[in-house]
Symmetry: C2
Subunit: 140 residues, 2 copies
């Protein structure tokens, strides 16, 4: 994270440190509603390895985006939650997610992969598909 050759002070490159990684948005998104244990995040994001998750959480913690709470127990229990600062990223991520979802549908419509009329989708999508999948985390 935080590539060496970055234009200092560029808001784009700054923001990309937090949301440009393959799993960063997914991790933050799943933390949006509360506290999660390490394994809970991992299981919410199939394909995400322990190493990458640990790396990302360490980065977020160091940047004040995520808080870590360690319980003295064996086996270990560690909880992660967004800080107030971290919460500010959620509306940004929402926008990205909405675009991704909508554009994915458009692509399928043009491919003929999706056979539901686009007009129906436009009605449904924002009221049903998206809010549902946001709640369940499906597709993330």
């Amino acid at each position: 994270m935080a590539s060496k050759e970055m234009l200092a002070g560029c808001p784009v490159q700054h923001a990309l440190q937090y949301i440009g990684g393959k799993w960063q948005i997914g991790i933050l998104w799943h933390l949006r509603e509360g506290t999660l244990r390490f394994n809970a995040i991992k299981e919410a994001l199939p394909g995400l390895s322990e190493k990458v998750l640990a790396d990302n959480l360490k980065f977020f913690e160091q940047k004040g985006i995520v808080e870590k709470q360690v319980f003295a127990a064996v086996p270990p229990k560690v909880e992660y939650r967004l800080t107030q600062d971290g919460q500010t990223l959620i509306p940004v991520i929402e926008k990205i997610l909405l675009w991704g979802y909508a554009h994915l549908q458009d692509e399928r419509v043009q491919n003929g992969t999706l056979y539901t009329p686009a007009t129906v989708l436009e009605e449904l999508q924002y009221k049903h598909d998206i809010s549902d999948s946001y709640k369940t985390g499906a597709g993330l």
Copy 2:
């Protein structure tokens, strides 16, 4: 672009194809208000090489995000503009940019690098600094 191992159908990874690259947001942002020639984009983004710009424009064109118009002339004249589809990314990018700008300021305030009271900034920033730098492209 479009990494091989991508979870098919994941809206996050889909969106990151378009905004996750180091220069993608910058390129799209500078095209937001109209048509630009190849070199105009290049000069607007110091550090961006011709190869990377060409690669990105080719990707965007292929994906229907950007339109290319070639004029039969020597030396060549080529213009790029956002498609309607491409325009849908601008509000997303705006959100990212605003967050990046604000968070950058917060960082400086905490570092003591920035000596203007935060309360003053909150008033000014969204009405002056940001809209100005957006218009001039400063910091991109």
